[in-house]
């Protein structure tokens, strides 16, 4: 009887049901409690699933036989981001030159700050490659880190942690800074905390939401272009980072 359990834990329905079930549970609990900021759905679903995997001694690879079904839709979901962009194209087009400059410089400053802070606090080269693309949405962080020879999954985890931080603290920080325009708020949240931040920005309104998508999408482009440049353009910098 007991030898049936490992087989069940490594089956496709188990990983799929665990993923969807944990997420649905967290979302419904959060809704019942009035959606407090600390009850971020991604954070708590991940925590719940990780705890179950560790307690039941289930391998990540076994869980991913089902979980991978969910992951397979990440690529199409990134492609689908073209639709909200297209729908808000008139308003976006007017703000685009300013937004491009803001995202380009904001991303560059963020990447440099991230890499320098990581290095100063003694991060290993692999860790530097994992934190560098952290403000891109996690499939992009994964790809950019792997293409640079870094640990992709760790980069994805770090990107998600960044998104959770931004979703929880971003709106408050922008209020403190007296950034009141929904376009500015959305853009800054999207650039810094990608999809998870965008989900939060959409709650502020459609304008904040659509500009958050713009920020997230431009951040994808910025991170993809700028991370290899920051890490590899100047040999002295590359040497200092230990890459």
């Amino acid at each position: 009887m007991s030898e049936l359990w490992p087989e069940f834990f490594s089956s496709q329905p188990f990983g799929l049901a665990l993923t969807v079930g944990a997420y649905a549970l967290v979302v419904s609990v959060a809704r019942r409690l009035g959606g407090p900021a600390w009850l971020n759905p991604v954070l708590w679903s991940v925590g719940l699933i990780v705890a179950i995997l560790l307690l039941a001694r289930i391998d990540y690879a076994d869980y991913m036989r089902g979980g991978g079904i969910v992951t397979a839709f990440l690529g199409p979901a990134v492609v689908a981001l073209a639709v909200p962009l297209h729908q808000n194209r008139a308003q976006i087009r007017r703000a685009l030159p300013g937004a491009l400059a803001a995202v380009g410089i904001g991303s560059l400053a963020g990447i440099i700050a991230t890499v320098v802070l990581a290095r100063l606090f003694g991060a290993s080269p692999a860790t530097i490659l994992a934190v560098a693309p952290k403000h891109a949405t996690s499939p992009v962080a994964l790809a950019v880190s792997e293409l640079a020879g870094g640990p992709g999954e760790l980069a994805a985890v770090i990107a998600i942690l960044t998104g959770i931080l931004g979703a929880a603290v971003g709106p408050w920080l922008l209020r403190v800074m007296r950034i009141d325009d929904e376009r500015h708020r959305g853009l800054a949240i999207g650039v810094s905390s990608h999809a998870i931040g965008t989900a939060r920005a959409l709650e502020e309104g459609p304008v904040a939401g659509s500009f958050s998508v713009v920020g997230m999408v431009l951040a994808v482009v910025a991170v993809t272009l700028l991370v290899p440049m920051v890490l590899g353009a100047v040999p002295a910098v590359t040497t200092w980072l230990g890459l």
Binding site: V83, H86, A102, G110, A113, T162
Partner: protein
């Protein structure tokens, strides 16, 4: 004065997608999904062929944006919208299994936990502040809006 209502956080899908009903609508929605998959496949192909450090999904997204923008009518957009709305709404869910991958990296994460947390918080702060301030400079609020928030 800060608006109380705007501080309340509601955890819902950003946009509740209406599922297509009826065989014709389902067929059109699937055709839209096929277009998304086609853009993804082309994007992946471009990434592989050119060996550029850009994820295929990003190229696919830009390709779909070009396709939607150059199309004469809105029909193509309506074709893609049902599946796109659904996919975008569930992005947080789609991120969960990848993030669970941290169980295989607990040792690495633990080893460098201080630099990782400092880099996440510091890098995030710099990105938000610089972007928000430059956005406010680059495309300022209209006069009407500015008057509203003037103290």
């Amino acid at each position: 004065m800060r608006n109380r209502a705007s501080r309340r956080r509601v955890v819902t899908a950003p946009e509740t997608p209406r599922p297509p009903s009826g065989p014709a609508a389902v067929g059109r929605a699937l055709l839209g999904f096929l277009l998304i998959l086609g853009c993804l496949a082309v994007g992946d192909g471009v990434t592989l062929a050119l060996r550029i450090p850009v994820p295929g999904s990003v190229i696919g997204m830009l390709l779909l944006l070009v396709v939607l923008s150059t199309a004469r009518s809105e029909r193509l957009n309506e074709l893609v919208r049902p599946s796109a709305t659904l996919l975008v709404a569930v992005i947080p869910l789609l991120l969960v299994p990848v993030a669970v991958g941290l169980v295989d990296h607990l040792a690495e994460l633990g080893q460098d936990i201080v630099p990782i947390l400092v880099a996440i918080a510091g890098g995030w702060l710099v990105t938000v502040v610089v972007t928000a301030l430059l956005a406010a400079l680059g495309f300022p609020s209209s006069d009407r809006r500015r008057r509203k928030v003037r103290r």
